[in-house]
């Protein structure tokens, strides 16, 4: 092998494994995007139809389904893919997002249920805008990690745009309609997954 052939081989091999690994991250972002879209529409529909906000408890089923489907998909992979710096970062970002959101939701519910003053504060801050901000942040950092401006901008627009939309519409719409902001976030996440998959084909 000549020096240039060796360097070309190194570059080609590294690029191909990086693409295979990052493409897998896209598959899981797509899965969670679809789940978020489906669950937000489901909660919205049931809440609107029955007038019962208790349907929000369905949100806690979403991570369980997501984890089960993810593990099935992982087991079905013909070749066990390793992690690289980018896939580890994307996985870490979204796992942290999940932990933050579920913890915030649980503590807000608990404090509110037991009439603690902190519950009132948490409710006043609002769970929806908090989650939207966290989502936008996670999406933007993912965009930076995969070097994709569309994802970076989409994260900013979903986080900050969603927050503005929430404040503008909060007085005019009920809690059920707020849920539709998560449908928007779900679509953004699914599209992000498709972009990451396509970008690394």
């Amino acid at each position: 092998m000549t020096a240039s052939e060796s360097l070309a081989l190194i570059t080609k091999t590294m690029n191909e494994s990086r693409k295979d690994i990052v493409q897998r991250s896209g598959k899981y972002l797509l899965l969670w995007g679809i789940l978020l879209t489906v669950f937000s529409l489901l909660v919205f529909s049931l809440w609107t139809a029955t007038g019962q906000p208790d349907w929000n408890l369905l949100w806690f089923v979403m991570p369980i389904i997501g984890i089960i489907v993810s593990s099935i998909l992982k087991r079905k992979e013909p070749v066990s893919l390793p992690d690289n710096a980018i896939s580890r970062m994307i996985g870490g970002i979204w796992r942290s997002f999940g932990v933050f959101v579920v913890s915030t939701a649980i503590f807000t519910l608990l404090f509110a249920k037991f009439g603690h003053t902190l519950g009132a504060v948490a409710v006043a801050i609002g769970l929806t805008p908090t989650i939207l901000l966290l989502f936008g942040m996670a999406e933007t950092v993912s965009g930076i990690a995969v070097k994709n401006k569309a994802i970076t901008v989409a994260g900013f627009l979903t986080g900050i745009g969603g927050l503005i939309l929430y404040y503008l519409t909060a007085s005019n719409c009920d809690g059920a309609e707020e849920i539709l902001l998560f449908t928007l976030a779900g679509v953004v996440l699914a599209v992000t997954g498709l972009i990451v998959k396509h970008q690394n084909k």
Partner: protein, 94 residues
């Protein structure tokens, strides 16, 4: 004067294996085989050579009921790989 190229890395398959392992924490034998298009026998031989030189560590275990060989680049392997790439660049610059 041209720097000496590491003869252990100056082989297509071993270099490909090291290039894969340089970018990941660890990789399964099946993943390396898929990425390099090598035969199992040839890949095993080259992995043994890299392992004997201390460039990679090899861990044999099981994933469920299936045997699984996991390879990981060592610090010595990373240094050798970096030096090899530096030497190649010097060749190309001269």
């Amino acid at each position: 004067m041209f720097p000496k190229l590491d003869p252990l890395l100056h082989s297509e398959l071993r270099l490909a294996v090291m290039s894969i392992l340089a970018g990941v924490e660890s990789a399964d034998f099946s993943f390396i085989k898929k990425q390099t298009d090598a035969t199992s026998g040839n890949l095993s031989v080259q992995i043994d050579k890299l392992s004997a030189a201390g460039y990679i560590s090899v861990e044999k275990g099981f994933k469920g009921k299936m045997p699984c060989t996991t390879c990981r680049i060592t610090d010595a392997g990373r240094d050798a790989f970096d030096n090899y790439v530096k030497a190649l660049r010097e060749y190309l610059l001269q």
